[in-house]
Each structure stands twice: as C-alpha cells, then as structure tokens.
C-alpha cells in the first residue's frame, strides 16, 4: 500500500513536470511567433520567466519546505508532520496527504502574524533586508536552461528565462549581492545576536566568492564559453559524447559532463555554493544554538522571506549544478541528438511533437534538480555545524589552493588535448581516488581494529580503547578519536 502511494506520488510529480514543460514549450513558441509577427523579440523568454521561475522554482521551493521535514523525519526514524487536514474537501479532507496541507498552514501563519519591529531598529533597512535576501537568490535562476533549444514554428526557442553573453558572470555578480540582505538584517535589527550573525554571514559569503569563481574556471576553459543556455552554452555542449556506440538508433556513451571533466571543480563549487546558501554545515550565521541567527528579530512574512529564500537557493543551486556539471537536460549517457532524430518528422502536428520531446527533456532536467535537492538535504541533516573560523580556514586554505591547482592542471590538459578526452580520463582518475579515500577506513579506525584483534579478542564493543599504544596519539592533533586508556 505504501509502495503504491509512493509510486503514485512520484508518477504525479514526474507527469506534472512533463506536462508543464510541454505546455511551456508550446506557449513560448506561440508567443515568440506572435510577437515576432509584430516585430518584437523575446516572447519566449517572457513565457519562460513566468513558467520556470514563478511556477516551477517557486513550487519546488514551497514543496521543499514540507519535503525537508518529511525527509529529515525519514532519516531520523520519525513520522514527520501529518496532522493538518484540508477538511473542506470531501474525501481528501480526511487524509494526511503526506503532510502537504502543512504548507498552507505555514503560509497562513506567516501572513497573519504581526510584522514586529523592535524599538531602535532602522525601519527602512529592517524592511529592506528580507527583500534584498530574497531577490538576488531568485534572480540567479535567470540564466539556467531547463531544456534543449528546439525549433517551434520556425523559431529557435531557448528554454531559459534569459540568455545573456555574460552567463556565469551574471551569476557571480548576483550571488554576491545576497550578502547585503543578511548583513543588513543583522545590522539593522538593533540586536547583538543578530549583529554577530550578520558579521558572520558577510565574512563567510565574501570569502567563499573567491573559491566559487575559481572552481568554475576549469569549465569555462574546457568549453571556451561563460554562457549556459542556447546551442553554444555549457548545458548543450555537455551533451556531446566523447566515446560512443550505437544501440538500435540511440547513441550511447560517455558524455563530456562537467562532473566527469571537472570532478574537483564540482566538489569545490558545491562546497562553496553550499556555504553561500548558509545551510548546515555552513549555517554559522544562523547557528540556532549559538547566536540564534541574524533574523532573530524578524517575525511573520518578513521572516518567511528569509526562510523561503533558503529553499529557493537550494532549488536554484541544484539547477545551476545540473546545467554546469550534470549535462543539463540530457538523458545520462544518451546523446540528445540521437533521441531527437528518432522523432517522426512531418505529420500533422510537427510542432506539438517537438514540444512533447522538449517536455520530456525538461522533465529530465527537473528530475535531476530534485535529486540534487535531496542530496543537499541529506548533507544538511547529517553534518554538524562548522565553527566560524574553521569555515574561513576551509575556504582560504583548502578550497582556494585546490581550486588554483585545478585550474592549472585542467588548463594544461585542455591545451594538450582539445578534444577533452584526456581531461575526462584525468577526471575519472580523480573520482577513483576520491572513492578510494572515502571507502577505506582512516588511520585511527584501522589501528583501533588491529588493537581490538590482539588485545581484547572477546569483547567486541569495548575493544580498541584499551590499547596502551594509543596513548602516544593522544596529542596527535588530527586523529579524530583520542587515545583512551580503559584499565
């Protein structure tokens, strides 16, 4: 029964993404065509802004608020929220509906609460801060393509809200604006805890800008572009297969995904962008058990803006990651061109067939986005929080040097072999090394296991802590487990 419910849920989500993207392609094509008849351009982009940013991003972000609670409940052996009911509906009103009615209750709660402003707070900046926190995050999605560029009614339709030449540079510029919202919120609240949070946020976000930019340089060099959308954008270029074979009309092989070309770049970008989203383990500006957060004085929907901007950030970051590192809207290991070539040409409704294909690829894109959102939530719910100075150390002393090294090595490999094959092989080697380091137990764990074998063969759990030779490691610094003598 539960498996059935879950399958139905997944089918509904995927189906609605498919339908929505198909309709978006059709509407974009229709409006582009209509406006071009009157000498205007960019009709498709208007539809994309409404459909991708206002509809899909916002709806996924809203659903993430409940998904975060449900998924964290799954990880923590709980049930999660399931009390709210839509009692005005006839049959569904009696069902918990996976907790989705909680979204409504949350929204109503936030909208109806008093927007309190503490005495002594700067009224203008206090009201400006939530907007400044939300707007740049939302605007980031503008350059992310959510589907392939297809020709409808003779016009190429780029499935992104905008396609400027300066693509990624726009992203860096807008991302760096987000710091104003948080630091202003902390500063204008006239609260010492909030001030600490604001200072933490601004220093953290500014120092991670550098690593963020540097981590993408490898990708920019590999594809010689900073553009994301369009036929010459990064998302489309990643669909090309480096090694391929034909299987019944489909071309299957290894694509030049950013994840394969630049695994290190991906990890760096992911870490730096995660730090920019200010979510655990990088949530020192919030640090609810330490300083309660830069938004401590906010209530009602002003607080809601900070909260929803975090969730929007999760979706947007996933979208950017998919577009830069995970092949955009392409099906993994399958050439998009070969899929499109399978489509029946001609027929009575050629544009509608193309739009259906676009809807399918758009669906693939959004499914990848949702999977990456899940990954981000898993990380958020498993790791403890860094300390404020440790975040700086990570950013400046670890991410930055690795990023620089990555740029030089990737640059050399790209110069040597412009077909990117060697870069990909090198990427695979990096992935193998990372996987090896992840699965092998660390030094301390190995030593503990050895000690357990020859010291206390029989006693399972207590084993390993009794070994006297551990005492030497007690001040060793980096071994995560100290030496303990159990006499």
């Amino acid at each position: 029964m539960r498996a059935l419910n879950v399958s139905i849920g997944i089918a509904v989500i995927i189906g609605s993404l498919f339908g929505h993207m198909t309709v978006t392609y059709l509407a974009a094509g229709w409006l582009e065509n209509l406006l071009q008849e009157h000498g205007l351009k960019g009709g498709g982009f208007i539809v994309n802004i409404l459909s991708l940013m206002l509809a899909v991003v916002m709806i996924i972000a809203t659903l993430l608020t409940i998904a975060e609670r449900k998924w964290s409940a799954l990880m923590q052996d709980r049930i999660g929220p399931n009390r709210a009911r839509l009692s005005i509906l006839p049959v569904l009103g009696k069902m918990p509906l996976a907790g989705i009615p909680h979204i409504l209750t949350d929204v109503f709660k936030m909208l109806t609460k008093e927007a309190f402003r503490p005495a002594g707070a700067n009224a203008f900046l206090f009201k400006l801060a939530p907007m400044l926190a939300f707007a740049p995050v939302f605007a980031l999605f503008a350059i992310v393509p959510a589907g392939p560029t297809l020709t409808l009614w003779g016009k190429p339709i780029i499935m992104a809200p905008a396609n400027p030449d300066f693509g990624l540079l726009f992203m860096f510029a807008i991302a760096s604006l987000a710091v104003y919202g948080t630091s202003l919120a902390g500063w204008s609240s006239n609260n010492k805890f909030a001030l600490l949070g604001g200072v933490r946020a601004s220093s953290q976000m500014i120092s991670y800008e550098v690593a963020l930019g540097l981590s993408l340089v490898g990708m920019m060099m590999a594809f010689s572009t900073v553009r994301l959308a369009g036929d010459t954008g990064m998302a489309a270029l990643q669909e090309k297969l480096l090694w391929s074979t034909k299987v019944g009309g489909l071309e299957i092989g290894v694509p030049q995904w950013g994840f394969f070309l630049q695994p290190l770049g991906f990890l760096l970008f992911f870490a730096a962008a995660f730090a920019e989203t200010k979510r655990a383990p990088f949530d020192t500006p919030e640090g609810e058990s330490e300083i309660v957060g830069y938004f401590i004085e906010y209530s009602g929907m002003q607080f809601g803006m900070f909260m929803i901007s975090e969730f929007v950030e999760v979706v947007v970051l996933s979208g950017v990651l998919v577009a830069i590192f995970f092949g955009g809207s392409s099906i993994p290991f399958v050439s998009t061109e070969s899929v499109l070539a399978l489509l029946p040409t001609g027929g009575d409704w050629p544009n509608h067939t193309t739009a259906l294909a676009g809807g399918f690829f758009g669906m693939v894109f959004w499914v990848k986005v949702v999977l990456l959102c899940y990954l981000q939530l898993v990380i958020r719910w498993t790791f403890p929080r860094f300390r404020y100075d440790q975040i700086q150390t990570l950013g400046w002393q670890i991410l930055l040097p690795i990023g620089l090294a990555n740029v030089f090595v990737s640059g050399a490999l790209i110069l040597w072999d412009p077909s990117l094959r060697w870069l990909t092989l090198f990427g695979f080697a990096e992935l193998a090394v990372i996987a090896f380091l992840t699965v092998t137990p660390n030094r301390q764990k190995r030593r503990e296991a050895e000690a357990a074998e020859h010291d206390h063969g029989g006693h399972g759990h207590g084993g390993g802590h009794g070994a006297d030779d551990h005492a030497a490691d007690a001040h060793g610094g980096h071994n995560p487990v100290p030496a303990l003598d159990a006499h």
Partner: protein, 409 residues
Amino acid sequence: MAQAGDDYDPTPSEDELEAHLQTRNMEINLGPSHPATHGTVRLKLELDGETIVKMDPEIGFLHRGFQKSCENVTWTQCIPYTDRLDYVASLTCNFGFITAVEKLMGVEIPERAKYIRVIGAELHRIASHLTTAGALGLELGGFAAFLYAIEGRELITDRVTELTGARLTTNYGRIGGMNRDLPPGWEENVLKSLVKIEQYAAEVDGLLTRNRIFADRVRGTGVISKDDALDFGFSGPCLRACGVKYDVRKNKPYWVYDKLDFEVPVASDGDNFARYYLRVLEIEQSIRMIRQAIDMMPGGPVMVDDWRIALPPKDQVYSTIEGVIAHFKLVMEGVPVPVGEVYHATESANGELGWYLKSDGSGRPYKVHVRAPGFQLLSALPRMCEGRMLADLIPTFDTINMIGGEVEQ
C-alpha cells in the same frame, strides 16, 4: 592634510599607522532563556569580536529551597525532593540520599535491594550520558544524533516507568531498602531494551565520533588541565577526561560495585572530545554492569525486617496492635535517625554526588547539604572558555553537563 594640488602619496603616514581604532567590547547575555543554556542559567559574556574576554555564569533561576524544604519534613519525605535535583538521572539522587541516611543509621540493607539500586542507577547513568552526547550533537547542528540518543533514553524512561510508576519524578527506594520489588518480567524487558540502546548508542557514535567537522569542533576546545580540574573540585567523567582515575564506584565501592566486573575509562586530553567520548564508553560499561547485575541478583526480601524503619505489612496493620503502632509512629514521626552527622558520596552520572547530613534525632533532618557535581564544573566554565571563541562555549557548556536542578537546588 592633503591640499588640493599636492601630489597624492598613498603610503599612510607614521601616526596614521599608530592610531588605534576606538573599540569597545560587546556585552551579551547568553540566557537565562537561550537554546544552549538548558537548565536556565545566565552567562554574562564580554565579547571582543567573537572571542570571550570575560564570562560570569549566574545561577539561581531554578532555586527551589531544597535544603530548607528538607528540614521541614521527615527523612522519608525528602526522597521526592531529591528527584528534582538531577532530573535527567533522578534514581541516582534517590538512591544516593537513602544510602547516606542508611550510613548515618548504620543499617545494612538486603542484598537484592543493593542489586536493584545498581541496576536503577546505571540505567539512569546511561540515560544521562545519552542525553549529553545527543545534545552535544544537537547543539553543533547535528540533529539526527540527538534524536537517536533520545530514542534510546525513551526506552530507559519506559523501563523506569514500569519500575517506579513515573517517567521523571521516580521517588523510588526507601530508607532500609526498596519500597517495591521489581515488577514481574522486568529484567527481560531491560535486557531487550539494552540491545536496542546499544544500537542507538552505536548510531550516535557513528554519526558523531569520526565526523571530521564534529572532531574539529570538540577537539582541543574547552580544555582544562589536570591540576586545574583538581583545584576546581571536578569529579566524574569531566575529571576522568583530564587523566585522573577517580570513580567513587571503584575507589570507595558501595552497594555491590565491588562484585561487578567493569572498567573505568580514562582520557588525558581534558577537552570536549574526551568528555564526550568517555560518556560513550561509560554507556558500554554501564550496559555491562546491568547485565551482570541482572545475572547475579539473588532472590529474597528487598526491605529490612525492622518495623521502626520499614512499613509493616498491611494485614499486620489492620489486625495487630504492634502493626498499628509501628505504622503510626513511622508515618507520624518518621524513621528514627540517631543524632550524628555523615558524609557519603555516590557516583552520579556527572560525578561525585555527596550528601552531608546532620541529624538531631528529631525525626527530621537538621541539615541536608548536597555536593552537586555540576556546581564545581560550572564554576570552572570561565576558566575553560575565556580567551576562546563564542562558538566553543556551546559544546563546552554541554559536555560539562551542568544540571540546573542540582546546581541551584
């Protein structure tokens, strides 16, 4: 000042470099109502940026007049007050108090009662340690570890409820033994729960101990040296984390701890990690002890057979004059504790829980003083945190595990 038309010289002049910015340290109140100060304590902090310059812990928000209350009731009626001392591990407080009174009276309790006390105290030690380890995870942002730990504590709370009838305010044990024997089948339930608790503890251990972020947060923070710890009067896991092997259960065995086979883990770093990890190891030792105790526990009575101390059986009360008199005297006058004074200590979850009792023979305590382990630990908090970052205070405050109820009494 540069005049218009002068050549601009970007190098700052000598006195410009010398001039210091006027700065003032920020004073901040952490608590009494703050997510990290569980137990309602106020920490007045003076911050230079994020560094703690000065710190002043202020207690008293949970003061209930414990000592004065005890002076106005009989010795037996003090037991419910002791529940409220260390409310995370109330059985250790119950048993500690009645053991001290028994020492003052010179009463030897039946063997079975001693085993029951060991099992109860160790169960609550596990509960307290799980709470500390889990809350440490929670305060460092790892919520999952906290919930697994609390899941384990919930099992213990269930067993304690079966045993005492209450989740928190146990009020179990009487002077001279136990007021009730174990409920039928309780031992099996405990053994079953222990298996699960081991799993939950392993889960907490797995989520936290080897996590690099967690290790960075707790290793080398909140350090206190061995000498300082002894000077401040540390005891329990916090003292053993500094390398002093002192455990009342081993050094001055009471009840049946001398018959049980267990180890006292000791670390040498004196930092938050050592305090956290010792608790994880002590959970394992406590589980060992409970299994042994259940194995070795003899049958027989759980209360001394002396109607001046123990309530007579109800049928005797209703049918014999001796029973009525004994019942009346015990309820109205209380247990006859002779004139004298005593200090007795037991090992509670957080350290040496000492009782200094003075009796004037009136049936009510003349003086009840508790040496709560948390008080000494809290008084050393400024020493451990001053000069460190604000973020280090949070795990340090957690691993000393100050319990407001016993510190403020």
